[in-house]
């Protein structure tokens, strides 16, 4: 078995979830790496989009900003933020990736603040940026994150970006587009999906080297479990080689 770090594992798992011919809006960092790896393995025609307007670039290097020159280098289109967001709203974007300081059992994500007074936050983060938009409007939202009991919490301080809100049908009752929502939460320990009815986070497979107990102990709420829990396939030698040599040769992301 190849040796790899948790970031490499998460990127490889994420890449496998992006099928050929799909559209994905990514940010900088790990999501962009996952999309690039996917293109270089099984999805040559995965269409990568950036919220500032870049569409299907030939990425010469990792972008530093989702609006920098690299995001539309030899692109098929350099458009605008409304163009990308409206393409999402129209239902033409399949996937996106989000990050955040907290996530709850329904996949709601906080990237705004810690504390209880919005006017004077204890800790302030950047806010939604495009995260709420992409979580609201793309068909399937994924997250890559290191798992711990503080981050995976049932006491989320602020719902910046919608998961399944209060579970069940509450997401659609709130007015968000039908059929959208969190799809996969990819952590260093496991891969989670969501129960079809309750929309509660549900473990689908456990990563090599971790146990059920590890996964539950590092989560601040009770996890549901799929009927049969698979072992996550570790990164293949090919995936690792391409990721290390072609996608992120300077280890900007996988070296973190």
């Amino acid at each position: 078995m190849a040796d790899y770090n948790p970031m490499e594992l998460m990127i490889c798992v994420a890449a496998r979830n992006l099928e050929d011919g799909a559209t994905v809006v990514v940010g900088t960092g790990a999501p962009c790496a996952a999309a690039m790896l996917s293109q270089k393995t099984h999805s040559p025609n995965l269409c990568i989009m950036f919220e500032a307007g870049g569409v299907a670039p030939i990425l010469p290097a990792m972008p530093i900003s989702v609006g920098d020159s690299r995001t539309f280098h030899k692109a098929l289109m350099a458009s605008s933020m409304p163009e990308i967001m409206e393409t999402c709203q129209r239902g033409m974007v399949d996937y996106t990736f989000l990050g955040g300081a907290q996530i709850d059992m329904y996949g709601n994500i906080n990237s705004t603040m810690i504390g209880s007074d919005h006017a004077k936050p204890k800790v302030r983060f950047p806010g939604s940026g495009g995260a709420n938009d992409l979580a609201s409007l793309c068909w399937r939202t994924m997250m890559m994150t290191v798992q711990d009991a503080k981050r995976f919490t049932d006491k989320i301080n602020f719902i910046t970006s919608p998961g399944y809100l209060q579970g069940g049908n509450t997401r659609y009752e709130a007015g968000l587009p039908k059929g959208t929502g969190p799809y996969r939460i990819i952590t260093n320990m496991a891969i989670m999906g969501f129960d079809e009815e309750t929309k509660w986070m549900k473990v689908l497979s456990i990563n090599p080297g971790y146990s059920r107990k590890d996964v539950q102990d590092n989560c601040g709420f009770e996890l549901k479990w799929a009927d049969s829990i698979a072992d996550t396939d570790p990164p293949t030698a090919d995936e690792l080689r391409i990721l290390r040599e072609e996608v992120d040769p300077h280890r900007y992301i996988i070296g973190r």
Binding site: I64, V66, A78, M81, M85, P126, G129, G130, P162, G175
Partner: protein, 336 residues
């Protein structure tokens, strides 16, 4: 309207925070009626624009995305002239937000993305400023701010959309739920954003303000229409003959523009597509200086308060030699 829909109307939610600008379309029209659409040369200076086109308390917006294609000279001059009490559109803002925070220039902010510099990390000073409680905050998102500008560009007072419903982002916004009169579907309604002032950096324009922009345009074409007063800073002036050779390439027309300034390397230390890459070294210097208020004061004295204008700032940062280096990175001749 059916009784059912009317009944539902009663339960429609509103965000708890303030709309910092007047969304009224007739008020905007009354302003635009008096705005000059004459085809007249508009060349001026950064000093003049900031002195005459921005008053303390105005609501301002800055073009570009993050540190990419931003009118840096205007941001510096706002701080240098000590403008105060501004409202700010924190839409895809990074280095512009960082500069204005260092000058404590604004006291209310529409938030989509603030205090961060994307992959580079968070601005310690901007974070202190926001966490201090000195700034009134209303939450939105990138798409929402784009659509608020689009509503204004269209001459409306509101526009519907399908994001933010059900979240705390909605709760701490000033949005309102409405129902589609055709389908009954619930929508978020956003108030049009007509800023008092906007500054946008472009690749090329003529003396009248007809602009060419290359690469991603973010929301700048809508911003140019939405704002009451608009200044364009440009990498280079071009002749009107060149504009007329390719009329489909004009993305901001002259009638939106009140002032034009030639500002080569004007997005430095940010990236200008096809021209020069961002100066990551200098941006790290900003972040390091911000760690303590004292070191930030020293840094600002050196780079902003101690310089007369943006040319002096560029010279301090390495001048032509540095600019050539950044161009080679942009053109993929050198690795960064």
């Amino acid at each position: 309207m059916s009784a059912e829909v009317m009944e539902k109307n009663i339960e429609l939610k509103s965000g708890v925070n303030k709309v910092f600008t007047d969304p009224d379309a007739d008020a905007a029209r009354a302003y635009f009626r008096g705005k000059s659409r004459a085809l007249r040369p508009k060349l001026t200076t950064v000093e003049e624009v900031v002195r005459t086109m921005i008053s303390d308390g105005d609501y301002i917006a800055i073009g570009g995305f993050g540190a990419n294609r931003i009118p840096t000279a205007i941001c510096h001059e706002i701080v240098r002239q000590g403008k105060k009490g501004l409202g700010f559109a924190g839409h895809t803002s990074t280095h512009d937000f960082q500069i204005l925070s260092a000058g404590e220039a604004f006291n209310r902010c529409d938030i989509a993305y603030i205090i961060g510099l994307e992959a580079r990390g968070l601005s310690p000073n901007a974070r202190r400023y926001i966490e201090s409680g000195k700034v009134k905050l209303t939450e939105w998102t990138n798409a929402t701010m784009s659509w608020r500008l689009k509503a204004a560009a269209m001459g409306l007072s509101f526009i519907p959309a399908r994001n933010i419903l059900g979240t705390d982002t909605f709760k701490y916004s000033a949005a309102k739920e409405i129902l589609c009169p055709f389908t009954g579907q619930k929508y978020a309604a956003y108030p049009a954003l007509y800023p008092d002032f906007a500054a946008i950096h472009v690749h090329e324009c003529d003396v009248y303000g007809n602009c060419h922009v290359y690469g991603a345009s973010v929301s700048d074409f809508d911003l140019a229409k939405a704002a009451r007063r608009v200044v364009i800073t440009t990498e280079r002036l071009v002749s009107t003959e060149k504009i007329r050779q390719q009329p489909e390439a004009t993305v901001i027309p002259f009638w939106c523009v009140d002032a034009v300034i030639e500002s080569p390397y004007g997005s430095y230390p940010g990236n200008m597509p096809y021209e020069y890459f961002s100066d990551e070294e200098h941006l790290r210097e900003w972040l390091a200086a911000e760690k303590e208020p004292e070191s930030l004061k020293k840094f600002m004295d050196k780079y902003i308060y101690g310089t007369k204008n943006f040319d002096e700032y560029l010279a301090l940062c390495g001048g032509t030699e540095k600019m050539n280096k950044l161009r080679r990175i942009e053109l993929l001749i050198d690795k960064k």
